[in-house]
């Protein structure tokens, strides 16, 4: 029996004993384990499960044990994930600290900062949000203007962030701020700010699809201790770039499966709405449009698979993330437009009577899909990236 087999047996046994039964059921959104100072636990098992996993560092299995991480090897982590999947365990902790900030701190932060923040993240004690975009800095993120002045014993921050997810529920924010106004990329720093500070205010943003986790975050004369700077002064862009790559790959995979799935697929919806001719959807042009779209989806899925196979074999498709972000979000938007055509007036409800929850979800998802080609780098930016980095087309 190999060491890995032993690890698997021990893990299985531990999970069997420690994962509460209710944590092996599908997770409603309100039970998501975001953690944080003000976390509430509608299901107390959520907290139990989080604490038990955190105690072994398994909320961050591959992070170093010295900061409270699991210290597992890649192989061991794979085993852990397989065993978690086998019992359909919910995630013990969902957190921007785990996904985004932690890896950045491990790479760029000082020893003191790591000792302070990493364990908190692993235990889910602090809920983090990210403050990048600004009203005037969307696609051109590096054009950000949130001013950070050196006041001797502290920094003074003034400005506004947008698209800060869950800012109204978070304890701290990791931010890009401008520390030098005479240069662009080289005048940006990476700063950690406590949301309880005076002068920090988060307001939820309503989207065209309804309420959203996004906020506007206003920073007015916010005093920040100087030890909250991560990395060197004016070198924040390096950290930002690392984090953005990660974000882009998260979005391109987003929502690809949603839509008519809950209704048995677009084909089934079309059969119901247009009738059938034998097995076929009676309206041939709708049928062809659906086939055309499903081809795009299958082709895109195959391309994702191919990219991953190529990455494994070391061939690499090159700047593939821009292509996937672009193509994936555009296909997704087309899918919802088509679904609207198929569902007819039943896809046009907003709330209340006359529409079932699946239909209302389609409407909202259709509207939300419009944002996919904007957030995480617009389609236009992705095309620019492909043209420049992949195709080598020159700048003007």
């Amino acid at each position: 029996m190999t060491a890995l087999d032993t690890f698997r047996e021990e893990t299985r046994a531990w999970l069997q004993e420690n994962c509460p039964e209710s944590m092996r059921t599908p997770m409603p959104e309100r039970e998501m384990p975001w953690g944080g100072r003000n976390a509430s636990y509608p299901n107390p098992d959520t907290k139990v499960w989080m604490d038990r996993m955190a105690s072994r560092g398994w909320t961050a299995p591959e992070w170093p044990a010295e900061y409270g991480g699991g210290g597992l090897s890649k192989e061991e982590n794979k085993v852990l994930q397989q065993e978690l999947a086998a019992i359909k365990a919910r995630p013990a902790l969902t957190s921007f600290g785990l996904w985004m900030l932690g890896p950045a701190l491990l790479e760029f932060a000082s020893e003191e900062q790591k000792q302070k923040y990493i364990p908190e993240i692993i235990k889910g004690e602090i809920r983090w949000c990210q403050g990048y975009s600004e009203p005037g800095a969307g696609s051109d993120l590096a054009g950000l203007q949130t001013k950070c002045e050196d006041k001797g014993d502290h920094y003074l921050v003034n400005g506004q962030k947008v698209w800060t997810s869950y800012a109204d529920k978070c304890d701290m924010i990791f931010c890009l701020v401008r520390t030098d106004t005479t240069v662009k990329h080289d005048g940006i720093s990476f700063l950690l700010i406590d949301m309880d500070n005076e002068g920090v205010e988060a307001r939820p943003i309503k989207l065209i699809s309804g309420s959203s986790p996004f906020c506007e975050t206003f920073l007015t004369d916010v005093k920040v201790p100087k030890e909250n700077l991560v990395g060197e002064l004016n070198k924040g862009w390096t950290i930002a770039k690392r984090l953005l790559e990660h974000e882009r790959s998260m979005i391109s995979g987003m929502g690809m499966g949603a839509g008519a799935a809950s209704m048995g697929g677009m084909e089934a919806v079309a059969k119901e709405n247009f009738g059938t001719d034998g097995e076929k959807i009676a309206d041939t042009s709708i049928r062809q449009a659906i086939a055309d779209h499903k081809m795009d989806q299958q082709a895109f899925g195959l391309t994702l698979k191919r990219a991953s196979a190529e990455a494994k074999s070391g061939q690499g498709m090159g700047a593939a993330s821009a292509m996937f972000k672009y193509y994936g979000t555009e296909v997704n938007k087309r899918r919802f437009e088509l679904l609207l055509d198929v569902l007819g007036t039943q896809a046009l409800g907003w709330e209340g009577e006359g529409f079932d929850s699946k239909e209302l979800a389609v409407t909202r998802s259709w509207l939300r899909s419009k944002g996919n080609s904007i957030e995480g780098g617009t389609s236009e930016v992705q095309l620019n990236v492909i043209a420049k980095r992949v195709l080598g087309l020159p700048d003007a």
């Binding site: 055509d341 046009l348 409800g349 709330e351 419009k370």
Partner: protein
């Protein structure tokens, strides 16, 4: 063919534009929505519309209207579309007045048309029964009962159904769903016994209703037009409705295009105005072409109606389908080109996007009208 407005029509347009811009801007729709207004329209605004003569714009002067005809009505609808004005114009001034004019007896005309023109009567057409427009696909029954009829069945997507005083109900006196023969129209009081009305909240913050009729009794005098022979007149007025929705959609598309163009000239990223980016320029130029094309087809459909031409069905299908697709493109581009703020409820792009999709489904989407255009073309 009148692809250019006359002087009189130009004056009407300017008057309508001023009115909607100043009195019924998009904030009016937002207010109705955010205050969860029970009616979904603004009685003040409607009174002003009546005052301006728009409620009776189709109706001859002798019955209290202004007699501007379909072109005049379309002009007003375009301007209403520019500001997303939520009014009963479509349900009452277009479909209600149109159907009574086309199919009503002299007595019905003399009774009802002055009330519509005077703002005393709101109507709603209860036609659709499925998710997709199909005017012959009516299963609602009108069973002979004494001298009158008993109506039973369910209607959906009845625009302004919950505020109408009188419903115009399309029901079947013979035949089966799908037949064009055997359809009849009846005027039914909204508060008649057996009528139950459920308001639905649509994505465009406008309203529609589900209406069920459970043995509702109507007299022979309540029939609008001949028994079993409603289809041809209904189709004519539906074409008027289609042209008017196309006109309204055009107004929305124009507003989105104008706003987006302004934004392209204003918004800076990477230190430059984003309107200098050639890819966006080309897309803006393509939208411009689409808007121009849409103006032509809407004018043509309205002219054909004005002139009672034989090609009314073909050109209204052309207008409805072509503007529907252009509005889809332009509203999508409007959101995308505005970037993140285009996704927020605070900016109007989303409101136009939502309205455009509802308009696209009203009285037949592009797919329906492409098929109809082909049918009419004999292929």
């Amino acid at each position: 063919m009148a692809l250019v407005l006359t002087e009189e029509q130009t004056m009407l347009r300017d008057m309508a534009k001023d009115f909607f811009t100043e009195q019924v801007p998009v904030t009016n729709l937002r207010k109705l929505r955010d205050e969860e207004d029970d009616l979904g329209y603004d009685k003040e605004v409607w009174a002003q519309i009546v005052e301006l003569g728009f409620a009776g714009i189709l109706i001859p002067e002798e019955q209290g209207g202004t007699g501007f005809g379909p072109m005049g009505l379309g002009i007003v609808m375009t301007e209403a579309g520019r500001t997303l004005a939520a009014t009963p114009l479509y349900s009452t001034a277009v479909l209600g007045a149109g159907l009574i004019l086309a199919a009503g007896s002299e007595a019905q005309k003399n009774d009802l048309l002055p009330k519509i023109a005077g703002g005393e009567l709101l109507t709603a057409l209860a036609l659709e029964e499925t998710n997709h427009h199909n005017p012959a696909n009516v299963a609602m029954t009108a069973e002979k009962s004494g001298d009158g009829f008993k109506l039973s069945g369910e209607k959906k997507f009845v625009i302004d159904g919950h505020i109408a005083d009188k419903l115009i109900v399309v029901a079947r006196t013979s035949g089966a769903a799908g037949d064009t023969q055997g359809l009849s129209m009846f005027l039914v009081d909204a508060d008649a016994k057996g009528v139950s009305i459920t308001r639905t909240h649509m994505v465009d913050s406008r309203n529609a209703a589900i209406i069920s009729l459970d043995g509702v009794e109507v007299s022979a005098d309540d029939a609008l037009g001949g028994i079993g022979a409603a289809y041809p007149e209904l189709e004519n007025v539906l074409d008027l409705g289609r042209a008017c929705i196309a006109a309204e959609m055009l107004g929305g598309a124009e507003a989105v295009f104008d706003t987006t163009l302004e934004y392209l000239k204003e918004r800076k990223q990477f230190g430059v105005i984003i309107g200098t980016f050639q890819a966006l320029k080309h897309r803006a130029a393509e939208m411009f072409c689409e808007v121009e094309i849409c103006r032509s087809v809407v004018l043509e459909a309205l002219s054909a109606l004005d002139e009672r031409r034989n090609d009314v069905p073909a050109v209204t299908s052309l207008a409805k389908a072509r503007v529907g697709e252009a509005a889809r493109l332009i509203t999508n581009e409007g959101v995308q080109m505005h970037g993140g703020i285009g996704m927020t409820d605070a900016v109007d792009m989303g409101l136009y996007l939502k309205r455009a999709r509802v308009q696209a489904q009203m009285l037949g989407n592009s797919n329906f009208h492409r098929a109809r255009y082909a049918d009419l073309g004999g292929y």
